[in-house]
């Protein structure tokens, strides 16, 4: 983590901590905390997709496992949601390791197709789950709710409990800081992995797989570590999401959420530490803007997002951070502060040359 990154991070965190006291309306706090939640998922997804280069689209399945673990444990075992978070995380790790093992020998788009199919299978299984569950009969004998709640989803499993501690007015601040804490952990983990042996190992594996393997860098090991670490926080983000909204349904496996997260990921820039954060911020601001401008904008929103994702991939595949990085280096060189040695720009240029 360079000094520049550290300074930016501290400033951002300070701003985020002060944000609820700047007299902003409450709905903005809610959008901000939803953004923190998705940004956590995207930072972890970036580790798998951008850093390790595994084209997995199964991140939402892990998110959903986390959310449903919290819902099921809170509802049927009457557990406090705070205790369910580590369990949800471990459930996510379990699923992710299974997926990781199944896709280990595959390449690129094979992984993408298989992981998207796994997420879709979960969606179908939950959606078609209609058999009345005995566990729900115990809670309320009058109703017929299936174990996963089917297409209606599950509720009644508790929440963070800030309403009791802080009172109804300030509860949203509690939720806000909880999500912020999660995001900070996610960002730190992401920076740590990118700059650690693991990040370097993946870089080596990408640049020259044979040499890296002959130097003892085990793709198997590193891939499983990244799958495990990123899955834990993704699943916890899922269960935080469930705890915040006090309900969970199969909609979280839907294509619109997938599109939203992909948009954050690619607009920010794949494989870069700041990419997911910048992407999440830009997309959230944009989303709020669209919703405010167009009253019936809900459906057009996805048309616009789809167009943005396509346009970014076609014309700016390095995303905003990549482009900004280039611009920053260009300015530094022009002003005479740096020689043309900057790692990212030359690495990308070399990469391009090698591929052409």
């Amino acid at each position: 983590m360079s000094r520049r990154d550290l300074i930016i991070l501290v400033v951002l965190i300070a701003f985020a901590i002060a944000f609820p006291y700047m007299g902003v309306p409450r709905y903005l706090l809610t959008s901000a905390l939803v953004m923190f939640c998705f940004a956590t998922v995207v930072t972890q997804w970036n580790l798998v997709f951008g850093v390790a280069g595994i084209f997995s689209l199964g991140q939402l399945a892990i998110f959903a496992i986390g959310a449903y673990t919290t819902a099921v444990m809170g509802r049927y075992l009457d557990m406090n949601v705070w205790y369910t978070f580590p369990i949800a995380g471990l459930a996510g790790v379990g699923l992710s390791l299974l997926v990781g093992l199944a896709t280990l020998r595959m390449k690129g788009v094979y992984v993408a197709l298989l992981t998207i199919a796994i997420a879709q299978m979960m969606f179908v299984l939950i959606q078609t789950d209609t058999a009345c569950s005995e566990l729900n009969r115990i809670i309320n004998p009058q109703t017929c709710i299936s174990f996963t709640g089917g297409s209606q989803g599950l509720g009644d499993f508790g929440s963070f409990g800030w309403r009791e501690v802080l009172g109804g007015r300030d509860a949203v601040r509690g939720d806000y800081y909880t999500m912020l804490g999660l995001l900070v952990v996610g960002v730190l983990v992401s920076f740590f992995i990118i700059n650690s042996r693991i990040g370097l190992g993946f870089k080596a594996l990408r640049d020259n797989p044979e040499l890296a393997a002959s130097r003892g860098i085990s793709q198997f090991k590193y891939q499983l570590i990244v799958f495990g670490v990123s899955a834990f926080l993704t699943a916890v983000a899922g269960s935080f999401y469930a705890a915040k909204f006090k309900a969970v349904g199969p909609g979280i496996l839907g294509f619109d959420l997938l599109l939203l997260l992909i948009a954050m990921l690619v607009v920010g820039g794949l494989g870069r530490a700041w990419g997911p954060l910048l992407g999440a911020l830009v997309i959230t601001i944009f989303r709020e803007g669209v919703d405010n401008i167009m009253t019936e904008g809900l459906q057009w929103r996805d048309v616009i997002f789809g167009g943005i994702v396509a346009a970014v991939m076609i014309f700016m595949p390095e995303g905003l951070t990549g482009t900004l990085d280039r611009l920053w280096n260009y300015i530094l060189i022009k002003l005479g502060f740096a020689k043309a040695r900057s790692s990212t720009v030359t690495a990308v240029a070399q990469d391009k040359k090698a591929n052409d």
Binding site: R105, V109, L114, L258, V303, G306, A310, M313, P317, D351
Partner: protein, 293 residues
């Protein structure tokens, strides 16, 4: 025995529909490593074009269907020029174009949703309500139409690929792009044509699909996913393999649906495919070299 017959009837129908969309996908991937996530949206678009020409423009069905296919081909050409055309020479083409087409696909589907609303339409091009009996198992004429269409189109694509000059150019490009280019094949023209052909196949499969069920803006998602499963099972880019795999998957899905329960069809084929891939990572009929860089 009736069970068995029922599985064959519905399995072959599913297989025929999967093969139509899977062969198109496989052809596109084989030619230039483009995994077209917008294929499902084009299926839906093709089916809606029949409605547009028939209902809104007042054409007869016999005219509306060919017009819909022409429109689908144009959609394929447009898709090429808004996405692949710009990205072919850039790095990480296969992953980038996949994400780009996810975006295009969702934009197209939500656009359709906005234009036609969420409620289902009945596909006018359907013989679903007429059927005959084989051993007490009803077989609708629509199934016969689907089998015949799939058979004719598959044979047609086969002849096109193996006998015509253009088909040879497509296969040459798929085998070795640079060599084909050196032999005077205009590879970009091949790409456009392949995408147009695949879109026509997608539209046919969309029309068939909506003739068995109903027409909805988001109906393309599930068959697209199954077509993907079919082509991974076959090995990406293997067109004949995709045909066999489609029938295999259709029969398997029908068997599970009839014997175990309708909602387990998809999970069952998915688990089957994962097991096959752990055993043979390049698919049933795939070669290791298929995953080119």
């Amino acid at each position: 025995m009736n069970f068995f017959l029922q599985i064959i009837v519905s399995g072959l129908t599913l297989g025929a529909m999967y093969s139509l969309s899977a062969v198109g996908l496989s052809l596109v991937w084989g030619s230039f490593n483009m995994l077209n996530m917008a294929h499902g949206a084009i299926m839906t678009l093709g089916a809606y074009f029949v409605i547009i020409w028939f209902d809104s423009m007042g054409m007869t069905l016999w005219l509306a269907a060919p017009f819909a296919l022409i429109c689908a081909a144009i959609a394929g050409v447009i898709l090429y020029f808004i996405s692949a055309h710009w990205m072919l020479t850039k790095r990480a083409f296969d992953t980038n174009i996949m994400i780009a087409t996810i975006g295009i696909s969702i934009a197209l589907q939500t656009g359709l949703l906005k234009a036609f609303g969420g409620e289902p339409y009945a596909q006018p091009l359907s013989l679903r309500s007429y059927s005959f009996m084989v051993n007490d198992v009803p077989v609708s004429y629509q199934r016969l139409v689907i089998w015949a269409t799939a058979l004719i189109l598959m044979v047609g694509v086969g002849i096109f690929l193996s006998r015509t000059n253009f088909g040879r150019a497509v296969r040459a490009t798929a085998q070795n792009r640079d060599a084909a280019q050196l032999m005077g094949v205009r590879v970009r023209r091949v790409y456009v044509a392949v995408l147009a052909l695949a879109s026509v196949l997608a539209a046919v499969s969309g029309i068939m699909l909506s003739s068995m069920k109903e027409l909805m803006p988001l109906m393309g998602g599930e068959p697209l996913l199954k077509a993907f499963i079919v082509i991974i099972l076959a090995g990406l880019g293997n067109v004949t393999g995709a045909l066999y795999a489609a029938i295999l998957v259709g029969l398997l899905e029908a068997a599970v649906q009839v014997l175990v329960g309708a909602q387990y069809g998809f999970p069952a084929i998915l688990i089957f495919v994962i097991l096959v891939l752990i055993w043979k990572p390049a698919g049933l009929f795939g070669r290791r070299t298929v995953a080119r860089q």
